[in-house]
Assembly symmetry: C2
Amino acid sequence: MTYDMIFTALADPRRRNILQQIATQPMSVAQLADQHNVSRPAISQHLKILTDAGLLSVTPKGTKRIYQINRDGLEPVRAYIDGFWDDALTAFQDHIINQTKD
Amino acid sequence: MTYDMIFTALADPRRRNILQQIATQPMSVAQLADQHNVSRPAISQHLKILTDAGLLSVTPKGTKRIYQINRDGLEPVRAYIDGFWDDALTAFQDHIINQTKD
DNA sequence: ACTTACCGTAAGCCATGACTTACGATATGA
DNA sequence: TCATATCGTAAGTCATGGCTTACGGTAAGT
């Protein structure tokens, strides 16, 4: 659940697609494999990356495994951006200060 | 400036590091290359990716090229997360509705 | 004009990543 | 118990990505 894992997970278009799909409705692996034009193991691997990043969670249902969104998973990203914004802002203020100093 | 370019740019730890560094203070290429333990061309390539993603902007200063933060560059990411949150939320509401239906 | 400083790009190398097929494991139903 | 459904993982393949060295190009100073 590091920044690295989250951003790496979000870097792949197919994973973002899967994520959005699961966000609107929890799905099984085979269900996802049907909609995307790749093999089932490929989907499984993507789901592992998304899950390890904290963006998904699983609940077994018989032989199926239903993947659903972890609604707090994207919060670190927001925090990252916010902290970033603060950095840029204070740096900008410092810049202004230095300018007025001259 | 697509989602793909932005998330790909943010996926690399070194690029996130560079981004944060430039956020606190605009810098030249050689300056960055000194602090990171890689060659100058490597930094140049990272800067190109970050710039193409809309996260940085350049202003030539003599022979130097000063890279600075584009403060609006991360806004699409926030928008992406927000839209996502909405999707998950409405889906969750639908789920509740379906549950009460049973 | 010449040298120096600073930089972007091309070409090549090597690790990483996304995909496939093959296999093994678990839960369900007859 | 046996067959079926569903899935995760291992191994191998091919494209992508980050790095290096080599080269060329522009701005400033003498």
